[in-house]
Amino acid sequence: MIDLVAAELLKLRSTRTALGLLIAAVLVGLAPAVLILIFAPAEVLEDETVGGFGFLVTGVTVVPLLGLVFGILSMTNEYRHGTITYSYLVTPRRARVIAVKLFVCFGVGIVVLALVGSLVTLTAIIGYEVRSLELETSFLFEDGVAETLALVLLAAGLMAALGVGLGALFRNQPATVAGTLIWALAGENIVVSLKPAVGQYLPFAALQQVVTGGVTVSTGAEVGLSRPEAFLVSLGYIAVVSIAAVYTTMRRDVT
């Protein structure tokens, strides 16, 4: 398995796909923070209710979506470029190929979010220092924050892993990326708005609730799952998609 992980990491390093998505994640994460630090009035940045950290990490919340796309691409690229033939020739136990991809993408999702989060933090510290403002960070040391951050990082990893499962299940790259993003960004939001009791259990809503701890519906009311509940629901989706992916992959002909 270590050999397979090493091969998977070389796959990531040896093409521009992973590097491109990493650069995109950094830009998406940093750009709002930098713009806010430059243009926002000082009173907004020092306002504890809307300013501070929560305001600056707006872009970071998009990073897990890029992780999802990364997971899809890492699997569908194998079919698109025909490299799946060698993958299965070298590792005829196909479940192992998928398991290793799930593991690697899960790790990459976590690492990338941690990296972008750290860069935003560093940028915020520098930005506040340059503008001679005081950055409110005491909340970071409050009870439960470390656990929440850990869950958020795990959710980012799960998002990338979910992408692998969806990629293995559907194989067609453009259709899988487009379909997943449309469902994640539009489809589920509609269901959550119309039927929150149902929508809160949908996959991307659950993953989002790992970060937010509940969802805000159109009436402004907070409903939904606690972070641990959302995490468990998300895990369930990953498990179901992964098992379905392995089941279908083992039965498909590679022609």
């Binding site: 050999d3 090493a6 040896s14 796909t17 025909g82 020739l89 002909d253």
Partner: protein
């Protein structure tokens, strides 16, 4: 114990396409076997079933006395060239092989060795998308050799190779055979492999229609007698009355059945003057096309 043992193998895609129909054969250690047949005959599907990429509808396959998927580190036992385009275009040749080497537990140093073996060391750092078709074919062959396997399954390895590349491939196959490797090489052009292989399997419309030593194909062929005569029409009638199969084009006749001396005597009997009389053995290519196209499946 055969290296590969295929028994009653069949593959059906959907309800209509029977790609492989009850194929059986065995590959003995150290043999080079040509797997011949027209495009769409079932060669690739059979090769892919041997290495577990395609699931057989019926039949059994044993590779080194077991299933391919059960071989520990299979790429060090079996090298399969099935798709020369199966490399990521943005990855360098060295990295493309590096991925396979790492996944197989093969030392990274082996990548440079095999690239040198296929004369691609100068292009190792270039992206595969910049490779010519022939270079990709060589890269695929290098990939097959990574694990120094005992069994090579090569699907149309000559595709895209220029005459120089073809000569290189023949040398390459002979060198592997000299090392005692077992090789199954598929092709739809007999000339590509006839100088290299010992045995042939001929498949047509999914069924194995001939197998055995290459020489046996040649031995079973009836020669054609060709002649030119100003009385070609008269001689044609005379020969056909004696049961020969004759084709005429102007003053030229092509005769199957009688030998050249018998044709000469027939010409003398009917008073035909001969300007030319030769015996021509059909080329292996002709035989291959005849067998693949018309012979009834083996019972």
């Amino acid at each position: 114990m055969p290296v590969v043992h295929v028994e009653h193998l069949s593959k059906r895609f959907g309800k209509r396409v029977l790609a492989v129909d009850d194929v059986s054969f065995a590959l003995e250690k150290g043999s080079i076997t040509g797997f011949l047949g027209p495009n769409g005959a079932g060669k690739t599907t059979t090769l892919r079933m041997i290495v577990d990429l395609v699931r057989p509808t019926a039949g059994s396959i044993a590779v080194f006395d077991g299933r391919y998927r059960d071989l520990p580190r299979p790429w060090t036992r079996v090298g399969a060239l099935l798709d020369a385009s199966g490399f990521h275009p943005g990855r360098s040749g060295a990295n493309a092989l590096g991925v396979v080497a790492r996944a197989s537990g093969i030392p990274a140093a082996r990548v440079a060795e095999v690239l040198e073996l296929v004369e691609l060391e100068g292009a190792a750092r270039r992206a595969v998308k910049g490779y010519s078709t022939g270079m990709r074919q060589r890269l695929a062959l290098a990939c097959v050799l990574l694990g120094d396997p005992d069994l090579l399954l090569l699907d149309e390895p000559a595709n895209g190779l220029d005459p120089e590349g073809m000569r290189w491939l023949r040398t390459f196959l002979r060198a592997r055979a000299a090392e005692g490797k077992t090789i199954l090489v598929s092709s739809h052009v007999l000339a590509e492999v006839e100088q290299t292989v010992d045995d042939v399997l001929i498949i047509s419309r999914g069924r194995l229609v001939a197998r055995g030593p290459l020489a046996s194909l040649d031995a079973g062929a009836s020669p054609v007698v060709r002649l030119r005569s100003p009385q070609a029409e008269l001689l044609q009638r005379h020969l056909e009355e004696r049961g020969a199969a004759v084709n005429r084009l102007g003053d030229a006749l092509a005769i199957r059945g009688p030998s050249a001396p018998e044709v000469g005597e027939a010409a003398h009997q009917c008073g035909a003057v001969l300007h030319e009389l030769i015996t021509e053995r059909p080329s292996l290519e002709d035989l291959f096309l005849e067998i693949a196209g018309t012979r009834r499946p083996e019972s």
